[in-house]
């Protein structure tokens, strides 16, 4: 990849940026889940690997979160956009060179950000933990070039309309820049007090709601019709999904702070808007499920569809939780407990990760024109992710309910810790399975690039995947 940094645009093979992003994202995924597994072990076995400043839980937790969000999730999004956006516009990526540079600067910036964070330099704000120079770097050298490439590719498209996926891509990269710049205003301008607290959660909500969830959905809007051959069930429902995301998903930031002393009108408003998140959620899931009509055998036979549809199925409980657990009737019980941790992993490790993994699997095969090296390893990866995630989610949900009961019935806190202990061990096992599965995945993708069978001209990898 390094040789393309200073090559002429026309000398860079199409898809270079996407491949660079795809492999980077897998590596960061391994790092992020490895850190997650290590952190989980510290919660289960607190006297293990101790006496050190660097490997203290409090120094590592945010490094795990930032690695998976900005390393895995967002980079896999970039990888997907770098090949899906041009494909849907029947054109080339606007600038492969910009894409390659973007990926390099992304890796450098992220490594820098994580190093500063790990060494204890933090803004002390959840999800916007990076210090403000890193935030500015992310906006200027990660989000803006990324956005520019996606937008310019869509502007230079050779199709008349813009497909649903590309609406989401264009809108979400744009909104990410806005969210980054506005969400970090407290650091840029030293805004203090409850405004700082509220803006922290405004950022956290919108980076999830306006980047991660809709882009993951947009990827499935591409993958399912492309691989099954079925046209999208309804573009009208796609419109409903898109517009209700913009209107409803951008407003309930305060629902993360339902038990804090924010103005009551704001909490009530956020609570109602939170329920309205069900509008895009239901529209989206129905649309995808109906697109699958007649092709459900592919859910079993095709590994990309298997990943994508698992993500879509996980979006159902995700949205049902998300739609209701900010209501006052439910929030008081589960707020601040492991239930929320489970929910966050359902969104990131469940829904988004499965959708993106499909896009990365598919992208690498299409761009390198090579068949997957090993379908068995891909299936192994799938089951490691799914079982690992399920163990994690189930144990954390149970732990959350225990914590909720503990706080409502005023149980001494240490008894809650004791009761949670077995679930902390299960959580660690689940996280470790995900980590190990990802190492297998990297090997499989590396071997695909090196030794995968070449796909004949005019065919797509998934068409020939089973001709052994």
């Amino acid at each position: 990849m390094i040789k393309y940094l200073f090559a002429k645009e026309e000398d860079i093979p199409q898809g270079s940026a996407a491949i660079f992003f795809a492999f980077s994202s897998i590596v960061w995924f391994i790092v992020g889940t490895g850190l997650g597994s290590f952190n989980a072990a510290k919660l289960a076995f607190p006297d293990w690997f101790t006496n050190s400043y660097m490997f203290q839980f409090g120094h590592m937790r945010q490094v795990h979160v930032m690695t998976v969000i900005f390393g895995w999730i967002a980079m896999a999004f970039a990888a997907s956009m770098m090949y899906i956006t041009p494909a849907l516009g029947n054109t080339k990526l606007w600038s492969e060179k910009l894409g390659v540079w973007n990926c390099l600067l992304w890796n450098v910036g992220l490594a820098l950000g994580l190093a500063t964070l790990w060494s204890g330099m933090t803004s002390g704000r959840e999800y916007s933990d990076f210090i403000w120079p890193i935030d500015l770097y992310i906006a200027a050298f990660i989000a803006v070039p990324w956005s520019l490439n996606v937008w310019a590719t869509i502007v230079n498209r050779r199709t008349q309309g813009i497909y649903t996926t590309n609406w989401f891509f264009a809108a979400c990269v744009f909104m990410t820049i806005i969210v980054f710049l506005i969400g970090n205003l407290p650091e840029f301008f030293h805004l203090t007090g409850l405004n700082e607290g509220y803006m922290t959660w405004w950022f956290a909500h919108n980076i999830l709601g306006l980047l991660i969830t809709p882009v993951a959905a947009a990827i499935t809007y591409y993958m399912i019709p492309k691989i099954t051959g079925n046209p999208l069930y309804s573009h009208r429902v796609g419109h409903l999904h898109f517009w209700s995301i913009v209107v409803f998903y951008s407003t309930p930031a305060a629902h993360h702070l339902m038990s804090s002393p924010l103005p009551e009108w704001l909490k009530s408003f956020a609570s109602v808007e939170g329920v309205l998140i069900l509008v895009p959620a239901i529209a989206y899931v129905c649309n995808i499920l109906l697109t699958m009509q007649g092709k459900w055998t592919m859910f079993v036979e095709n590994v990309e569809i298997k990943f994508t549809m698992t993500g879509v199925f996980l979006a159902i409980p995700l949205n049902m939780q998300g739609g209701f657990h900010q209501t006052r009737a439910i929030n008081w019980y589960i707020h601040g407990t492991g239930w929320i941790v489970a929910h966050a992993h359902l969104a990131l490790l469940g829904f988004s990760t499965f959708a993106e993994a499909a896009a990365v699997y598919y992208g690498i095969q299409v761009l390198l024109r090579r068949k997957l090296y090993s379908l068995s390893l891909a299936n192994f990866h799938f089951w490691m992710l799914l079982i690992g995630f399920s163990l994690y989610w189930t144990s954390m949900t149970i732990a959350g309910l225990i914590q909720g009961a503990g706080k409502v019935y005023e149980v001494p806190y240490i008894d809650v810790v004791i009761a949670e202990h077995p679930y902390m061990i299960v959580r660690w096992l689940g996280g470790t399975m995900v980590f190990l599965g990802n190492i297998v995945w990297l090997y499989n993708m590396y071997m695909t690039a090196r030794a995968g069978e070449v796909v004949p001209e005019g065919r797509l990898p998934h068409e020939v995947a089973y001709q052994r």
Partner: protein, 316 residues
């Protein structure tokens, strides 16, 4: 422009996004900014100073450039005994909290009184200042305000610190930085919930309890007891010391990490601290080969653990 057929859509998108920003940023922050500061928030910002997260004056979060909170029983100017008074000492060069630089964030009432009676505008951070919290009357209501006693009574920072002595000086400001850096807030919230936490963790914070504090870091994911009023529940410095060195010494089921590295390289008597040896002896105790766990070393008065313990004990 190839987007021209999407004109209507683009305009709608702009309106929708601008509308949501209006509702979720402009209205709430305007509303929050109009809340007058309570005595709690005056105390918090004077204790913690300008910024506890990353900032230009303390980039590595070592607890530098932070005020000191002292308890006085003698007047620092005359030396006469007086009622117990809490004063916040900003040595020359230490940044003031936001409420001093931008009094409008104190809200109506505390702002006017602090400027008129408290003379906070006369404070100069290059020369240092000492502040106390007073109560006055604003529009018929009792209102807390900040008084710049350097301007009103001539209390100088060095003199106030010397009068109070190290035993009556709290490093809670630097301790808040430790609380942020060490990630205590990933497990311990500073936010008793309004619905059910009154009995166990005490009074939840009010809207005006945060003015001028940054970062608020009240936490979201509670894996451990809420700490907002922990100093009222447990005020034992020795218990804190044991608990931070290895929480399992005082609470066998705790999953809290050890913060023994905050002691630094040497203890209060200048002896080097060997954490590996301590861990080995503790393991022997754990396995039943020793009757008592190894001794926890006394911390130096300028060690990071002192800052953190001062912070925790200050959470009343």
């Amino acid at each position: 422009m190839a987007f021209r057929e999407y004109n209507v859509g683009s305009i709608c998108f702009g309106i929708a996004l601008a509308g949501s920003m209006m509702i979720t940023i402009f209205f709430p922050t305007g509303d929050i900014s109009n809340i007058p500061a309570t005595e709690i928030s005056l105390d918090k910002q004077l204790t913690y100073g300008y910024e506890s997260g990353f900032n230009y004056w303390d980039p590595f979060l070592n607890g530098k450039n932070k005020p000191l909170k002292v308890t006085l029983t003698k007047d620092p100017v005359t030396g006469q005994p007086m009622d117990k008074t809490v004063a916040y000492v900003f040595k020359p060069g230490v940044k003031f909290p936001n409420g001093i630089y931008k009094p409008r964030i104190l809200g109506h009432g505390p702002k006017e009184l602090s400027e008129r009676l408290g003379r906070i505008s006369a404070a100069d951070d290059s020369k240092g200042a000492v502040f106390v919290i007073k109560h006055g009357t604003y529009k018929g209501k009792e209102t807390p305000y900040i008084e710049n006693v350097t301007a009103t009574k001539g209390w100088q920072p060095e003199k106030v610190l010397a009068t109070a002595g190290d035993a009556n000086t709290s490093y809670a400001g630097a301790g808040k930085t430790m609380f942020i850096r060490e990630g205590c807030w990933w497990c311990h919230t500073l936010l008793p919930e309004e619905t059910q936490d009154w009995q166990t963790f005490g009074r939840p914070p009010m809207t005006g309890d945060f003015n001028g504090e940054s970062p608020t870091a009240f936490g979201s994911d509670r894996k451990a007891p809420d700490l907002l009023h922990v100093g009222s529940r447990n005020s034992s410095r020795e218990w804190m010391m044991l608990h931070f060195f290895n929480p399992r010494l005082v609470q066998p089921h705790s999953i809290m990490p050890r913060y023994n590295y905050l002691w630094g390289k040497t203890d209060a008597h200048g002896n080097p601290i060997d954490l590996a040896k301590w861990s080995k002896e503790y393991q022997e105790f754990y396995e039943g080969k020793r009757i008592y766990p190894p001794e926890v070393p006394d911390y130096r008065p300028d060690s990071e653990i002192r800052y953190l313990i001062d912070f925790v004990l200050n959470l009343k």
